[in-house]
């Protein structure tokens, strides 16, 4: 029972991060129907930039929370620019090319970003300085920290903000219109290019915030961390129904919980044949099962020829 609650808490924390990253995938997919393969690297760059800012400001005597806030803002801004540039370089020129082409350019961009990160931040793991004084709370035999609480809280806040933006603001309306039918939307005076760029920018901002969360949760960062994270977040987006915002959030949380429970119980279930280092395969197994039985995801609409 203790393990169950503990793993649920860990799963929700991790799931909140996945959900934020998944939103970036799902927004872009919902509008232009392409997987932004380099999104995971954007998240990684976000973590790295936050790390640099925090380390360089840590000795300045500013209150730690302010330092953390500055790191968050700077990395968000950097990632927004990066997301915009990514769209300009790898996607916009190829919007009418065969579907494989933008996938290859996105892979190329993610190789470039990874190696730029390796040149700047080195190929070793870097430790994230803890900025929040850790407090540990107890709940029914399981423990959680204030870091976890703030991650879940901040993620919830960002999601509410996004929902407000998409459903109440003008740019959100333009996004929904473009997702339904780009040609008609542009006839109605929507600037398609701007809307698509905005989707990339907003997605990248959310990714940067998720990156900072990962950094302060695990207190570790690496130039290759974006790949696995991106893949899992994509799984979360597919699980919830790609193109569906609420689906991405639910899918992220669900995947986080599945993964945490799986890692906690796989040893018992297989008689210690498989250990918790198989944690990473759960995401893929979930992905394959979902795509086999319900390719449109849990909350997605069934479409004939989309997948």
């Amino acid at each position: 029972m203790d393990t169950l609650i503990q793993q649920l808490i860990n799963g929700v924390t991790l799931g909140a991060v996945y959900a934020l990253v998944a939103l970036g995938y799902t927004m872009v997919y919902g509008i232009i129907g392409l997987i932004n393969f380099a999104h995971g690297e954007v998240v990684m760059i976000g973590t790295m930039v936050a790390f640099t800012v925090i380390v360089s400001l840590a000795g300045s005597g500013m209150p730690p929370l302010l330092v953390l806030g500055i790191g968050l803002v700077v990395s968000t801004l950097v990632c927004m620019v990066l997301g915009w540039a990514l769209e300009r370089v790898a996607y916009r020129p190829l919007r009418h090319a065969p579907r494989l082409t933008p996938l290859i350019t996105a892979i190329g961009m993610s190789i470039v970003l990874q190696n730029v990160a390796m040149i700047i931040w080195g190929r070793n793991y870097i430790t994230f300085p803890p900025m929040i004084d850790k407090q540990i709370f107890e709940l029914a035999g399981a423990s959680f920290t204030n870091v976890q609480v703030s991650i879940v809280f901040l993620a919830a806040l960002m999601m509410l903000g996004l929902i407000y933006l998409v459903h109440r603001m003008r740019i959100g309306m333009a996004m929904r219109a473009t997702a339904q039918n780009p040609q008609v939307a542009s006839l109605m005076g929507v600037d398609i290019n701007r809307v698509i760029a905005m989707a990339f920018v907003i997605g990248s901002a959310l990714g940067a915030i998720a990156g900072c969360m990962v950094g302060s949760y695990y207190e570790i960062a690496h130039y290759q961390m974006g790949f696995m994270l991106g893949l899992k977040a994509f799984t979360a987006a597919v699980l919830g129904g790609i193109g569906n915002l609420a689906g991405a959030m639910a899918g992220g949380l669900l995947l986080g919980v599945i993964e945490a429970l799986g890692a906690g119980y796989i040893g018992d279930l297989t008689g210690d044949f498989l250990g918790s280092h198989y944690q990473d395969i759960f995401a893929f197994i979930v992905l394959i099962i979902v795509l086999m039985f319900r390719p449109s995801g849990l909350f997605g609409e069934r479409t004939g020829d989309r997948a």
Partner: protein, 358 residues
């Protein structure tokens, strides 16, 4: 009358080109050996990649199924060879037993991957195959406990070379006064295998099966309506591509004498896919060009970047390894940006693209 002469001239030119290619292929290992055996090994890898890229070309180029986990089959073949011909399990079977076994095993894995993903297309298929490749790699990395099957991240060492009786591919031997080193012998073996796979590719291209694949690539619903059994034909593409990957893996194992999960990362899958796409999907000469270029480019960069940096800046500024990958990534972006059909696309495909653009 004149067309008949033209045709026979074209045929003559065809044979002449083949002759030139044959002579060049024959000379490569000896010219490369002048710069050291390392260059022969690079040539070997170039041909191994030609082999792999042509195998993947069946899946991606002909059938249009985007496979990002191709390296899984390569890995299955390599580990099959490593486990059945090394001191790890103290089994030493001859290569002509293991290579077909590896190919068959990879083929089974191909069907295992293909069956659940039959309904998926495009990006979704790409992600699932990618996940499959990662699952295989994670298993290879971790199947050393509680029963040691793959020896984990350390990999398997001391794998037997390919051997026929007393004739081993790992030692020097002399024919008619000509001494051939181990890598040079593997070179000729690989060339023979590559020619085999090229012939299979050419024969498949215009066969009933090949045309069915192309029909599925262009429009699956229409292909089904024309009476093509899309399920079986797609599975066949997966199975054939996988078998080629399995054979390549076996040869890789024997040639290196060592396998570890590190050789089968996602990056490897991406590199092979990039060879197919950069060269020109579905066009055999293009794919060969892509494979040779992408094997040669990183090596050229490895040897070129260091002196270049020293010359320009006077010292090493950037780690050559990461710069090499950086250039690789940029090359992918630029080629796709300016030649979306690849460097050497098939004439038909080029026509289609220019029509749709115009």
């Amino acid at each position: 009358m004149s067309t008949a002469i033209g045709k026979s001239l074209a045929r003559q030119r065809h044979w002449l080109a083949l002759l030139v290619i044959a002579v060049v292929l024959l000379l490569v290992p000896f010219v490369a050996a002048l710069g050291g055996q390392a260059w022969v090994c690079i040539a070997n890898f170039a041909i191994l990649y030609v082999f792999l890229a042509l195998g993947l070309n069946i899946v991606v180029g002909y059938a249009g199924l985007l496979d990002l986990g191709y390296v899984a089959f390569y890995a299955v073949g390599a580990y099959a060879y490593a486990l059945l011909a090394s001191p790890h399990f103290a089994i030493h079977l001859p290569f002509w037993v293991i290579l077909p076994c590896g190919a068959a095993l990879a083929c089974i894995f191909g069907v295992l991957l293909g069956a659940p993903t039959l309904k998926l297309r495009g990006d979704y298929l790409a992600i699932v195959t990618l996940g499959f490749g990662e699952i295989i790699r994670i298993f290879m990395n971790n199947l050393n406990a509680p029963i040691n099957i793959t020896n984990g991240a350390q990999g398997i060492t001391l794998i037997d070379p390919i051997r026929i009786g007393d004739f081993s591919f790992s030692q020097d031997s002399t024919f008619l006064g000509l001494t051939l080193s181990g890598p040079q012998k593997y070179y000729f073996l690989l060339v023979a295998l590559a020619i085999l796979v090229i012939v299979v590719n050419i024969r498949l291209q215009d066969s009933r099966i090949g045309r069915a694949w192309q029909a599925i690539r262009e429009d699956e619903v229409a292909a089904k309506a024309c009476g093509i059994n899309t399920r079986n034909i797609k599975l066949l593409a997966f199975a054939m591509g996988a078998s080629f990957g399995g054979i390549a893996g076996g040869v890789f194992s024997a040639m290196q004498g060592f396998v570890s999960p590190e050789s089968f990362s996602l990056m490897e899958s991406i590199t092979i896919l990039a060879m197919v796409v950069l060269g020109g999907m579905g066009h055999i000469p293009g794919v060969i060009l892509g494979a040779v270029l992408l094997t040669a480019l990183p090596e050229a960069l490895r040897y070129g970047i260091e002196p270049l940096q020293k010359m320009v800046f006077g010292r090493m500024i950037v780690d050559p390894e990461s710069l090499r990958m950086l250039v690789f990534g940029l090359a992918l972006v630029l080629v796709m940006r300016f030649r979306p059909a690849g460097l050497w696309p098939s004439p038909q495909r080029r026509r289609e693209l220019s029509e749709s653009a115009g």
